[in-house]
Subunit: 207 residues, 2 copies
Amino acid sequence: MDKNRLSLEMILSMERNHRRNFINDLSSFKSANLIGTVNFDGITNLAVFNSVVHIGANPPLMGFILRPTVVARQTYDNIKATGYFTINPITEKLRDRAHQTSAKYPEGISEFIMTGIKPEFSKSHPAPYVAESPFKIGLKIEEEQLIKANGCRLIIGRIIEVLIDDKLITPDGHIDLKKSKVLTISGLDTYSVVGKGQQLEYARPDC
Amino acid sequence: MDKNRLSLEMILSMERNHRRNFINDLSSFKSANLIGTVNFDGITNLAVFNSVVHIGANPPLMGFILRPTVVARQTYDNIKATGYFTINPITEKLRDRAHQTSAKYPEGISEFIMTGIKPEFSKSHPAPYVAESPFKIGLKIEEEQLIKANGCRLIIGRIIEVLIDDKLITPDGHIDLKKSKVLTISGLDTYSVVGKGQQLEYARPDC
């Protein structure tokens, strides 16, 4: 295949939306999650994130990238205020309502109400879960790292509980993501179903 | 669906491999990439990473999570030594050889040689690309953040060039990931093809 070279200068000279689409697609397929939080007045918030990553298994930690807080970032404010958040995978059935949470609703109105996504609460912490996500993770803020290059933050939470149907867990601890019907996101707004998967064996040198 | 609650205590008491599988699957489908680096002696290194994330479009930044450096981390050492790395998406055709790079080869032997993946070089920097990746990104180290909770690092690079066939770029700047045949990883070792995708429109309040 004939490869062409796009230099940094050529990338920086792209039209703004064109560049945003291009750069966001370079990271290929990403996790599709709704992050749930609540403020001190009990107003819940729900937002799509495509940047949830695994940080560690022991202690169990997950993180996500939060854009600069120059505009209102209710997710960040709520996590700072209450200390908790939830991660809820997006399924095909949830897709359209999940994406609709990215609309700019007036302050003080919950995305749960505006999109019709049903919240679910646990006795362990105040942050709302998405009732119909096939599994859901409750986290306590552990650490945040400010990225100097552009003002984004890596937010890291310690897992305090997981709500999941036992039937989705295989005997060796894996979650049946195919049965869970979890989607993947590419770019900012393209949601895809995932097809056939192949688990490969632990790689050993064959020399 | 009946949800069961797994508390932190229950998660911590899981058998080690069971917990690792479970926690790694909680982040669902992740990006599948090979990161290429080189040391001062010209020995190239190639390693699978499932944690590449988008950091920003302007300046164009991408990042990935690197495990603690208590054991040899050639990727990290090479980036620190030379300042550059490449990100190369994994396709179905590359899958088995890409996974094989995770085998513990003796020091001083390149994964490119051991797995038969062909490197490709650019005049702009010394880090090796994967020749047959449908597109490939050259980055200069910009910043690193040490995660206090478990000693992992977020490594952030500034994109300095992208090698890509023009035919993979749509008129609005998107990369045709379907045509590129890029896979997604779940857990540590399951590679899946991605099926039908749906791009959703910019969400606006409909109230």
